[in-house]
Amino acid sequence: MLMTMSTLNAKIPPGPLAEKWSYYKEHAKLVNPANKRKLEVIVVGTGLAGASAAATLAELGYKVKAFCFQDSPRRAHSIAAQGGINAAKNYKNDGDSVFRLFYDTIKGGDFRAREANVYRLAEVSVNIIDQCVAQGVPFAREYGGLLDNRSFGGAQVSRTFYARGQTGQQLLLGAYQALERQVGLGNVKMYARHEMLELVKIDGKARGIIARNLVTGELERHFGHAVLLCTGGYGNVFYLSTNAMGSNVTAIWKAYKQGAFFGNPCFTQIHPTCIPVTGDYQSKLTLMSESLRNDGRVWVPKSVEDAKAIREGRKKPEDIKEEDRDYYLERKYPSYGNLCPRDIASRAAKEVCDEGRGIVPSGYGVYLDFSDAIKRLGVETVKARYGELFPMYQNITNEDPLKTPMKIYPAVHYTMGGLWVDYELMTTIPGCYALGEANFSDHGANRLGASALMQGLADGYFIIPYTIGNYLAGEIFTKPIPTDHPAFVEAEKRVSDRIHRLLSVKGRRTVDEFHRLLGKIMWEYCGMARSAAGLTKARDMVRELRREFWSDVRVPGSANEFNPELDKAGRVADFLELGELMIVDALHRNESCGGHFRVEYQDEGEAKRDDENYRYVAAWEYKGDDADPALHKEELVFENVQLQVRSYK
């Protein structure tokens, strides 16, 4: 591992925390309307971050091209978010404020995020709600007609806005409609069923992309004065996750290989309440809302024998007497009990299952039991409280959680890591920006619920429209570069060579088979608990798997047709490289913080952070396929909060 001293400039504006964003806006360069029309911006991704950015930049007068791999921009993975979106509106008069939202986010992230960015996020959160309501997003309302809020993990105030269990869908449709409006006006050209496969750099600056038309297979060259990557998270490196099937790392991975640094790649969020894996055929995992832990009690049998009997179908949960059950969260964390934070609840489930006390045939599952709540509140109240969740669970598992406990297990859910960006959301490649889950983000080592939607929309609606001007003001004399420029030709050649390499292996094993194997390695060694020995082993395993992939994968069909297996093969090939970088990052970070738990660094099972040595963002620079990446550090300075140990006992 190469070590480089900090060369990273986060470009944090001067002045007190609360005035930095205003200061920035007052001093940023502007582009006049006539010049905006001459500037072209490429937006890759149309989730909350991409759709809001594309729409807003087009409203401002820039010429925008937007890309997504689904058949419509409305289908981006943001659509699946259920719970809600945070904003420091303080409509409940319960003492919320911008500072409190900032503080909760910094603390929730275990003090591994940049103060100035997080404060700005909290600051613009209030504008997001105004904008969405104006667009017609049907948020939940009280009888008086005003907006309703609910509370969410990691906060003592009620600041989460929601639209039934479909918050992400409604926010995305709002942004999508704003985007389509600009498409109709001719200000945005939309390229659906297109996948970005390379970033084009000219004289060190991002100047365009190579995209593949997924219907015809044709490669296309697109010029832009700037390129925005809003391509979501890479949780699917684990194969099984709560992400949509197509979520991938390809766009940001290409940028990484062109010189954009990758920030904290190993920071992954594992959500404690998902439906457990039932078989090898399984393609994805389904999240059950965190809110269930309000009334559900988590347990496994005390004895390994009872657990074994359940796994083999000889006993039912009802057969286990009260005194033979281990309500392990209540036992270990008496003051927070079943409501302890995500990372802690997840690790505890793994621990009891590793002891052989899991209750599903695979061994990896625990009970979430509503029987006490039903006794206390009655069936009807419990049913009403969790609305769609019980039928959803029943549809998937064919079991009624009102009659028998739910079975749950943690699953990969979100990636806090992503491309390193400065205060302006620019990567280390000038003119290349990263927004939404694709950047290393404001969530440090752990994200609080309802904060990803907030960040995506903050980045797209309210931050990039200001910060991009500061860069594009210097580009008004740059004429669109013809795409027969050698840089475009070379980039396209890299893409077509790779596609042909994938197709010409003609091996025996399917893409999914490799993806599953990679997922198993990542989950076992770079998942909820990590150790130096395990990570070292895993690194070799991933390398070996990558080698096997390139000598034995079978990709059917050809390059010039609609070929979903080929699309998938390219994504898995990138995951096979990313996996190693995540392992390298996890191995180097000799501390436990947030979702990153290194077994060597703990105090009786609790994460032990090392602020003295690891209070920094790890930003990795690509140095070649066979070389180790170089580490750059952005030291984190905390001037407005006091570093403290999280305790939930």
Partner: protein, 248 residues
């Protein structure tokens, strides 16, 4: 479980296409329909055959991407569910299952079970929005909205744009989809200024895309995975008539 599948195979838009027989065995009843298709594709790839192309992404009933016409029904036999929410336990061991793409003039087939639904995007671009630029909004609580209105708007907004309504309709009409958006925005105070131009523009685009007319059959409502109600179509007709009247 064992199944006999008859799957629509069509190389591209120009190919006439045909049903092809497949037999698949050892299917776990807890598999989803799409996971069963994954298993079949895995077998096909290993045998050196062309896997079956189908659209999907979220696999939890919200993105609207999956779109299979199963045994003559859009999204298959289960009520209020998308294809990805359908589980093999809904079928009997040994069943024969027909799997076809959405069929409608306005949704041309791209390959096998994949169709082009971009007409829906163009209808939205024609008017399915409120014209408010970023930064122009007033405080969110400045306009109280009666809970009942907000709830009805939300009911209509639940549409996932899957196109099952079009596929189910013998006329290939898109009325349920279009009316859901027109209703949502017409029910909210923010939607009032553009209320009538919106209805006119969206309906015009719908006609231009080649969707059929509504003859009150109701198949759309019966097959809609999000249970969007026919009353939306009635509201859209009212909006449209009023709009046409105002325009004259």
């Amino acid at each position: 479980m064992k199944f006999h599948l008859k799957v629509w195979r069509q190389k591209n838009a120009k190919d006439p296409g045909r049903l092809v027989d497949y037999t698949i065995d050892n299917i776990n009843p807890d598999m989803s329909f799409l996971e069963m298709m994954d298993v079949l594709n895995d077998e096909l790839i290993r045998k050196g055959e062309d896997p079956i192309a189908f659209d999907h992404d979220c696999r939890e009933g919200i993105c609207g991407m999956c779109s299979m016409y199963i045994n003559g029904r859009a999204h298959g036999p289960q009520r209020a569910a998308t294809t990805c929410q359908l589980y093999m336990r809904s079928f009997k061991d040994g069943d024969t299952i027909y799997v076809e793409p959405w069929r409608a003039k306005a949704f041309p087939v791209i390959k096998d079970l994949v169709v082009d639904r971009s007409a829906f995007d163009r209808i939205i671009a024609a008017g399915g929005f409120i014209s408010v630029n970023t930064g122009q909004a007033q405080d969110a609580n400045a306009i109280p909205i009666p809970k009942a209105d907000a709830d009805r708007a939300m009911d209509a907004a639940a549409c996932i744009g899957c196109g099952a309504c079009v596929a189910a309709c013998p006329n290939g009409a898109a009325m349920l989809f279009v009316s859901a958006k027109i209703s949502q925005l017409a029910l909210l105070p923010q939607g009032q200024p553009e209320r009538y131009t919106r209805a006119l523009n969206m309906v015009k685009q719908m006609d231009e895309e080649g969707f059929g007319n509504c003859t009150n059959i109701g198949a759309c409502e019966a097959e809609c995975p999000k249970e969007i109600k026919l009353t939306n179509i009635a509201r859209m007709n009212r909006e449209y008539l009023t709009a046409a009247f105002i325009q004259e």
